[in-house]
Structure formats: structure tokens, C-alpha cells
Symmetry: C2
Subunit: 365 residues, 2 copies
């Protein structure tokens, strides 16, 4: 394996809206900018996780509206705060990775991109670094590497990757990407052993990704080249709205990974979570003897297996099991752990009513 990782550039993708974590997460400050798991924002935790990786300075692709937040996070973590590509709007991950690849090819030669969502949790940093180093060796040799999370339970909320022929150590060829399974299928995947969760983390050589994109999604590649040609540089790279709007939106999975024959999956068993819902935060949280995760000024009685998050005011829960209570300065959500996805219905209703609380975290004047 190689031991110099200075040609690995971590690229954080900060595109998520985090609607399922409303009311904490809002459009103007989505989940990656919130201290949901510990006292750090998730962007900051993602940046901190790079320490010890011996990689190059990270780059962040984010919404232009979050430029100030992103720069502050980069500065706080000790990185160059101008290494930002700022999107006027989201076009999903394939274009985000493409503009990053174009930018890096221009300035940094042809490095390896380590594509990381900015809003995931990985508890075991050592295991993460080992997997990245393994991926670097394979990506250097031309593979398009995806990280497959070793499943801990029959999850129906994620897509899966089926692994094929062995490549090198634990790495295997990608045989197939499969959609979110039903419960029974998920159980089969869990016992089968060939399946892992699609984490949305990747490692490619920039030129390899752009070549694959040109082959399988030429409109995205062309659109991103035009977008970057008309981008404006100041405190970051501001993408051209006009050109980016003409670029098709798609995910790296759909645009490239499902088509390439060079896909390799590296298993990652590192306490990963996409923190996709309040239920996920309960699962990864510090549970007390009653199975409760209690954050902030919370008092409970006769309450178990619940996630309760206060944010200033006193939150009390009595005589309940399996509930989620999230308080913010202007809105409260009460739901059940089992149905925490129904927060989406609430947010949709609030958006239909054009309620400020649906999207903005700041107080109205």
C-alpha cells in the first residue's frame, strides 16, 4: 500500500437539506451546521475526522447561502477557508463531484478525491482512516471506489451494494447497486454477507471520475465544464447559475457507479450513521438505563426509549415510551421513534402554509 496520501483531497459535500431533522434543521441552517451528536457541528466533526489521515487540504462543495457558515467551519478546524465551491442551488452529487474534480484538476494536478457527505457520523476514526488508505491504493490504480457500510440490522431505509469478485484484501468488485429493500429482503441481505449499505462516500482519481461521467452522463460533464468556465472566484468558487441550471441533476450512483465496470466496494465497519432521522440520533446517542437520550434541560418521569432534546426551555416528558420530543425557540416536534419519518408530512404542511418555521431558523422581525 502507498504511504503518502498528500495526493488525496477530501471533498466534503454539504448539500443536504436535513428536512427529516426538522425543527432543529432548517433550510438556512441544515443539519450539517448543527451540533446534533456532540458539541461540534457535523461539518466540523467531518473535518476533524480528517486529522491523522495525512491527506491534502479539504475542499467543500456547499450552497452559496451557507458560504459564511462553511468558511467558519474550515477556519475553526484549521483549514484554508477559501477552499469552497459554492452552488447557487443543489444538482445532486454527480455535478457536485464533477465541479470539485474540475477544480482540483486545475489546481492540484490529478489528485484522488475522497468524497464525503458532510453530515454523517463515523465513530471509529482509525477504521475509517484504514479504509481510506486502502481505497487510495485502489483508486490510484484506476478503480472507482465506494465505501460499503457493513450492515448491523435489516435496514429498509438505505440502498445496498452487492459485492462480487474479490479484488484486494476485503475489497471486492461492485456486482450491483440495489434499491431500498423490503423488510424480508433486508433480512436476507443481512444474513447473506455480500451486501453493504450504500454510504455515499467514494474515492476516485479526478480524471477517472470525469472520464466515467463523460462516458455515462456526458451532459453532466459538459454542463459542469461550462459551469466552471463561467464561475467567479472570490472567497470561494461561485458557480454560474445559468450554466449550472442547464446541468442535469443526478447522483454519483445513478450517473456513474451503476454503469462503470471499474467499481470497487471497500467494507467499512466504523460506527457509521447518516443521521437521517431523529430515530438515528436516538440509536447513536448516549442512552441512559431507561433507554432515553436526553439532551439539554430535560426532566422525565416514567419514560423510556425516548429521544428528548431541549434547546433553552425546560422540556418534560411523563408516562411515555418510544417518543421523540425536539424543542427549538420557535417550534416543537413531538413524534414517535417508529414514525419519526412523519416529520416530513409536518414540514410539507407547513411549507404549503408558507410558514417561516418550515425553512428559517432565525426569528422573524
Amino acid at each position: 500500500m502507498v504511504s503518502d496520501y498528500s495526493n488525496v483531497v477530501p471533498v466534503l459535500m454539504s448539500g443536504g437539506a436535513g428536512t427529516r431533522l426538522w425543527p432543529a434543521s432548517r433550510s438556512d441552517r441544515p443539519k450539517q451546521f448543527l451540533p446534533l451528536v456532540d458539541e461540534r457541528t457535523m461539518v466540523r466533526a467531518t473535518l476533524d475526522r480528517l486529522i491523522g489521515l495525512d491527506a491534502a487540504e479539504p475542499l467543500i462543495v456547499a450552497n452559496a447561502g451557507h458560504a459564511g457558515l462553511v468558511a467558519a467551519e474550515l477556519r475553526g478546524a484549521g483549514f484554508d477557508p477559501t477552499r469552497m465551491i459554492l452552488e447557487p442551488f443543489g444538482r445532486n452529487t454527480a455535478p457536485a463531484a464533477a465541479v470539485a474534480a474540475i477544480e482540483l484538476s486545475r489546481n492540484d494536478g490529478d489528485p484522488l478525491m475522497l468524497l464525503l457527505p458532510a453530515d454523517h457520523v463515523i465513530e471509529d476514526v482509525v477504521a475509517f482512516h484504514e479504509a481510506v488508505h486502502h481505497a487510495a491504493a485502489l483508486a490510484s490504480a484506476g478503480s472507482l471506489v465506494t465505501f460499503g457500510i457493513v450492515p448491523s440490522h435489516p435496514e429498509t431505509g438505505y440502498g445496498y451494494i452487492r459485492a462480487g469478485e474479490p479484488v484486494d484484501g476485503s475489497a471486492r468488485m461492485v456486482a450491483e447497486f440495489v434499491e431500498k429493500p423490503d423488510r424480508e429482503t433486508a433480512q436476507r441481505y443481512l444474513t447473506d454477507g455480500d451486501y453493504s449499505w450504500n454510504s455515499g462516500m467514494f474515492m476516485f482519481r479526478c480524471s477517472d471520475y470525469l472520464a466515467a461521467l463523460k462516458e455515462f452522463a456526458p451532459q453532466i460533464e459538459a454542463g459542469c465544464l461550462r459551469t466552471m468556465a463561467e464561475s467567479v472566484r472570490s472567497d470561494g468558487v461561485y458557480l454560474s447559475s445559468e450554466q449550472f441550471a442547464d446541468t442535469p441533476a443526478d447522483s454519483i450512483d445513478y450517473a456513474v457507479m451503476e454503469h462503470t465496470t471499474r467499481g470497487v466496494v471497500i467494507p467499512l465497519e466504523a460506527g457509521w450513521s447518516d443521521v437521517g432521522s431523529w430515530t438515528a440520533l436516538w440509536e447513536i446517542g448516549q442512552r441512559d438505563d431507561d433507554g432515553n437520550v436526553l439532551i439539554g434541560d430535560v426532566t422525565v418521569a416514567d419514560t423510556s426509549n425516548s429521544y428528548v432534546r431541549a434547546d433553552g426551555r425546560l422540556v418534560t416528558v411523563a408516562g411515555l415510551d418510544n417518543v421523540v420530543v425536539v424543542d427549538t425557540h420557535d417550534a416543537i416536534l413531538v413524534t414517535s421513534l417508529a414514525k419519526a419519518q412523519s416529520v416530513k408530512a409536518i414540514v410539507d404542511m407547513l411549507k404549503a402554509q408558507k410558514r417561516r418555521e418550515a425553512t428559517e431558523s432565525t426569528e422573524s422581525d
Copy 2:
């Protein structure tokens, strides 16, 4: 029956702490001073219920700390705001009724006292007035009248009154006061027909009550006479702390009604509720098609049979059944309709922590 009720003086007892309706109800503004059922406070609704009764001006026995609140309610309802007896602390209902009887005997001859808790709901005002008029006739003749609520369900949370021999129309002698029953016993009481709920409403001639008190609880009678002798008159009658502290605390039921042979029970079927818990407020509230009572800025999805009360901020509930959510400016309670009594455990914990939110409704400075 008599038709002049100018000798009936309604006496409102405003002594309740309303702990079971925390966090809306606090020591400095307990439930009777809150607009829990409609836009009026419960004291005001109780005063408004007197209109059409053709009775004398009401008198209120209340905590001295609530003098301003009580005077405002009396004034708002069009009554004399100085007709207040102000207790330094509560000694339960027998002393409260005694100081009222002493005060009324001094100023108003020997009227009939209509003792009414200031925090109950009675929906059918006509039925209430008819029962009061019936009671006036019996109290005029020397009976100690209690109003027995015709049970609508096998309630285990109330004491019951067993009716004996018929007296006059629907009125019957009190055979026995019985403690809160278990479920099975409550069911038997419901089908039996001789049992009614002990409402805490009474009608006596002042002299009859004081005579009975002298007979069955002489220390209370003596203590109240001393208390009134040393009381101070200004915007109301302020009781002597020293003397009132020496007066035993007891209820009218225990001190008098369980001992007298002159007890009469008049059945009342008038949509009564003691509004003793959030569950009671759900029961008497306007339920929508999903069985929800939603008050204030509330949005729900996939939620049923729940009581949700907002007070300024947006409160949202998703994917739950049978819950209670009550928000206030500084504290939130989330509990279940079935276990709403567990709010007491919360308040006890908060009091043990000397939390301001346990007792005070005002913002700290």
C-alpha cells in the same frame, strides 16, 4: 318552592393549586385564573354562571397572593371587587366556608351560602340554576345540601355520595360518603343508581353550617371566629395569619358532612367537570374528527385522540395517539392521556430541584 333568591350568597372557593394542570397552572396563577376551557378564566366562567340565578352579590375566598387577580375577575364580571376574604395560606374548605359564614352573618343577616369551587366547569347553566333553586328551598328548611353529580362513567378519581331516603323531588338524604372506589366498585356504583360524585358544591344557611361545625369540629369553628376577629379590612378581608395557622385544616366533607344527620344530596346532571387533569380537558374539549383537541398554533399529522395546547410557538405532533402536549413560554409537558396524572411526579421532581418553573409562571429577571 321559594322564588326570591336574594338571600342566597354565592361563595366561590379559589383555593386550588391546580398542580395536575402544570405547566399551564403555577402557584402564582393556578388553574382558576387561566382560560383553560374557553377564552375566560375559570373564576370568570364561575361568576358568569351566576347571572340569572337572582342571587346576592358573590363573595370569594382566595389566597391573599391572588387578591389582584380576584378583584379583577369580580370587576370584570360586574360584581363588587371588595367582596373577597383573603387567606394567608390554605386550610382546606371547612375553614374557608367558616370564615365566609362568619363574614356573611355579620353583614348580610343569616343568608344561605352557595359554596362553589372556582375551577369547575358546568355546561348546562339552566340545570345548575334549577338545582341551586331546589337546594335553596331545602337549605332554608335547615338541610345541609350537597350537590351530587350524576355519574357518566365508572370514575375512580372521585369520592362518591350514597343517597338514602327521598326528601323532596329528586333530593334524598345523604346515606354515606364513600372514598374513591376501584374500577369494579365504580362500575357497580354506576349501575346501582344510588351513587353520585362528590362535587364539592354545597348550600347551607350560614348559622346551620357554623352550628354543625361547632358540634363536629369545634376547633375549626373557634379558630375561624378568632381569625375573623383579628382580620384586617382594606380592599378585602385579610385573615390573621397567626390565628388561621392555629385553625385545623379539613374539608367540609370530613369536618361536617360525614357527621351530620341533616345532609341532603341534590342530583346535578349538567355537564360538570372538575377539570382535574389534562385528560379532563380533552374530555370536555371540542374534539375534531380524529378525536384531537387542538388549541393555539398546532399542526398535526397522523395523530389522533390527543390534547395539544400551544401558547405562542408552533407545536407539531406526528404519528402519535393518545398524547398530551402542553407548551408554555418556559416549559413543555409531553405525556399520555392515560397517564396525565404523572405530571405530579414531574412537578415534585422540579420542586425538589427548586426549579422556578415548578411554581412561578412569570419570567425570571
